[in-house]
C-alpha cells in the first residue's frame, strides 16, 4: 500500500515537472496530492488525508487550473538553446540537496523518537485535532488567522477599483 501511494505521489510529481502543458501539469499535481492523502491514511491520520484532498486537490489546484484556463496559456514554448551546463548543474544541485535532506532527516532526534514510540497508536480524529489546535497551538493558529485575514484584506484592496 505504502509503495503504491508513494509511487502515485512521486509519479504525479515527476509528471508535473516534465509536463509542458500547464493544465495537464495541474492534473498531475492533483494526482500527487491524492497519493499524499493515501500516505496520510496509512499514517493513521484520516483527518489530514481528508483535509489534504479538500484543501489541496479540491480548492488550491482547482484555483490554479482555473487561472491557467483563464489566461489561456496552455503550452510552454520550448527553449531556444539547449543549455546543457545549466541542466547538469541543476541536476547535481538537486541530488546534493536531496542527499543532504535525507541525511538530515535520518540524523534528527524526532525520527529516533518516532521509532521509539509505538507505531500507529490510534486514529487522529477531528476531535483530537481540534483539541490540539486550540490548546497546544493556539498562538500559531491565531497568528495564521490574522495573517490570512490581512492577506484577504490586501487582496480586496488590490482588486478594488479606484472610485
Amino acid at each position: 500500500m505504502f509503495l503504491a501511494f508513494a509511487l502515485i505521489t512521486l509519479g504525479g510529481a515527476f509528471a508535473l515537472l516534465i509536463q509542458r502543458n500547464a493544465v495537464q501539469a495541474g492534473l498531475c499535481m492533483m494526482l500527487s496530492f491524492f497519493g499524499m492523502a493515501g500516505l496520510f491514511l496509512l499514517l493513521a491520520n484520516p483527518v489530514a488525508a481528508a483535509l489534504q484532498i479538500i484543501v489541496y486537490s479540491g480548492a488550491i489546484t482547482i484555483l490554479f487550473l482555473f487561472v491557467v484556463m483563464l489566461l489561456q496559456s496552455h503550452r510552454e514554448e520550448p527553449s531556444a538553446h539547449p543549455r546543457y551546463i545549466q541542466k547538469i548543474l541543476s541536476a547535481a544541485l538537486v541530488i546534493i540537496l536531496a542527499l543532504g535532506a535525507i541525511k538530515l532527516v535520518q540524523s534528527s532526534k524526532t525520527l529516533a523518537d518516532i521509532q521509539a514510540a509505538s507505531p500507529a497508536s490510534d486514529l487522529i480524529t477531528l476531535e483530537k485535532l481540534g483539541e490540539r489546535l486550540f490548546t497546544d497551538h493556539l498562538v500559531a493558529l491565531e497568528a495564521i488567522g490574522l495573517l490570512l485575514l490581512s492577506a484577504m484584506i490586501a487582496a480586496v484592496v488590490l482588486i478594488k477599483k479606484e472610485a
Partner: protein
C-alpha cells in the same frame, strides 16, 4: 446451515464487505439510471405532456416507458464513439471517469440501514465501517474532486463553449462548496460527532432538519450547485453554450458524464438524508431493524432525488452574476451566521 455460517467465522466481514460494495454499486448505478427515466417522465408530466412511453418489450409491456432506459443505454453503448481531432486525447478519455468515479465513491460512507448483529458479527450497512476517523469529511473530500470531471472534460474538448462551461462550472462549484461545508460543520458542532453513524444515532429523538432549518436550507441550495443541477447548471447551460462540457462527447463517454450527474444526485440526496433527515430512522420507531430501516432510507432518498427533478423543472437558470451574488454575498454570510449562532448556543449550553 447455521453451522456453515459460523464456520465462515472471520470471513463473514469480508464477504459482507463484498456484498455491500456490489449492492451499493449496482444499487446506485441502477437508481441513477432509473432517475434518467424519472427525469424525462417527471419533466413531461410537469409540463402537461406524456413523456417517454413507446418503448416496449415482450409483446406489449410498456410500464410507463421505463424501457426507454434500456433503449438509451443500448444506443449510447453502440453509438459511434467520435473523438474529434482537436481534443487532447488522453484527458478526453479520462474525463468521463474523472466525473464518474468521485460521484460513485461519495456514497460509500452513507449508512443505508441500521447495523445488525449476525452470527456474532456486527455488520454495518455502509461500505465504510464507522470509526474510521474520516466520517463526513470523506464525502466532502470526494465531492470536491467532482470538479475535475467537468474541468478535464471541458479543457480536453478544446472548444470554446466547453471551455466557458468548464470555467463557469468550476467557479460555481468551488463557490458553493464553502457554504456547503459551513452547513455541514454546523451539524458537526451540534452533534459533537462527524461520523455518519453517530450523526444518525443522535437524531433518534429529533431530526436535524428541525434543529437546524437554516442549515438545511443552505445545504439544500448548495447541493443543487454541487451537482450542477438547475437552477445552477452553469456547466451545461444548453441555451447559452451549446451543451457545455458535453459538447464534444458522444457514445458511452457522454453516457458516463451524463450518468455521473445522476449518481451525484443520488449521493448528495443520501448525504442530505443522513445529515438532516435521520438517515434510516423512522419517526417514533426505536429499532426498525435492518430491512425496515433500509426501506425508510430508500424512501427518503427517492424523495430527495425526486426533489432534484422537481426543482429542475420548476426554476429557470440563474444569471452568472446572480449566481456569484447568491453564493458569496448571501449564502456565505448565512453559513457563517448559522455556524456562529449554533456555536453561541452550545457555549450557552442551550443545545
Amino acid at each position: 446451515m447455521s453451522d456453515f455460517f459460523t464456520s465462515l467465522g472471520v470471513y463473514i466481514p469480508i464477504i459482507w464487505m463484498l456484498v455491500k460494495i456490489l449492492a451499493v454499486f449496482v444499487g446506485v448505478m441502477s437508481l441513477s439510471a432509473v432517475l434518467t427515466w424519472a427525469e424525462r417522465k417527471g419533466a413531461a408530466l410537469i409540463q402537461d405532456r406524456i413523456g417517454p412511453n413507446r418503448a416496449k418489450i415482450i409483446g406489449n409491456i410498456r410500464l410507463f416507458g421505463i424501457f426507454h432506459l434500456m433503449g438509451d443505454g443500448f444506443k449510447l453503448i453502440f453509438k459511434e464513439d467520435l473523438v474529434p481531432l482537436h481534443v487532447t486525447r488522453g484527458l478526453f478519455w479520462i474525463a468521463p471517469l474523472l466525473a464518474f468515479v468521485p460521484a460513485m465513491m461519495g456514497f460509500a460512507i452513507v449508512p443505508f440501514g441500521q447495523s445488525f448483529e449476525w452470527h456474532g458479527h456486527v455488520l454495518h450497512m455502509s461500505v465504510i465501517d464507522p470509526g474510521n476517523g474520516m466520517g463526513m469529511l470523506y464525502p466532502m473530500a470526494i465531492a470536491s474532486l467532482a470538479v475535475y470531471g467537468i474541468l478535464t472534460a471541458s479543457w480536453a474538448s478544446n472548444n470554446k463553449w466547453s471551455m466557458l462551461s468548464g470555467m463557469r462550472g468550476t467557479a460555481n462549484m468551488i463557490s458553493y462548496e464553502i457554504s456547503f461545508s459551513l452547513a455541514v460543520i454546523a451539524i458537526f458542532l451540534q452533534m459533537g460527532a462527524y461520523d455518519p453513524h453517530e450523526i444518525i444515532a443522535a437524531q433518534s429523538s429529533m431530526w436535524n432538519v428541525v434543529r437546524q432549518p437554516l442549515g438545511f436550507l443552505l445545504f439544500f441550495v448548495c447541493a443543487f450547485a454541487e451537482t450542477n443541477r438547475l437552477p445552477f447548471d452553469f456547466a451545461e447551460g444548453e441555451s447559452e453554450i451549446v451543451a457545455g462540457f458535453l459538447t464534444e462527447f458522444s457514445g458511452m463517454k457522454l453516457g458516463f458524464l451524463w450518468l455521473s450527474e445522476y449518481v451525484h444526485m443520488v449521493t448528495v440526496s443520501a448525504l442530505m438524508v443522513t445529515l438532516y433527515f435521520g438517515g434510516w430512522q423512522i419517526p417514533f420507531v426505536a429499532n426498525p431493524g435492518p430491512l425496515l430501516s433500509f426501506i425508510a432510507f430508500a424512501l427518503k432518498l427517492l424523495f430527495f432525488c425526486w426533489m432534484f427533478i422537481w426543482v429542475r423543472w420548476t426554476l429557470p437558470r440563474f444569471r452568472y452574476d446572480q449566481l456569484m451574488f447568491i453564493g458569496w454575498k448571501i449564502l456565505l454570510p448565512i453559513g457563517f451566521a448559522n455556524l456562529l449562532f449554533y456555536a453561541w448556543l452550545i457555549n450557552k449550553g442551550v443545545v
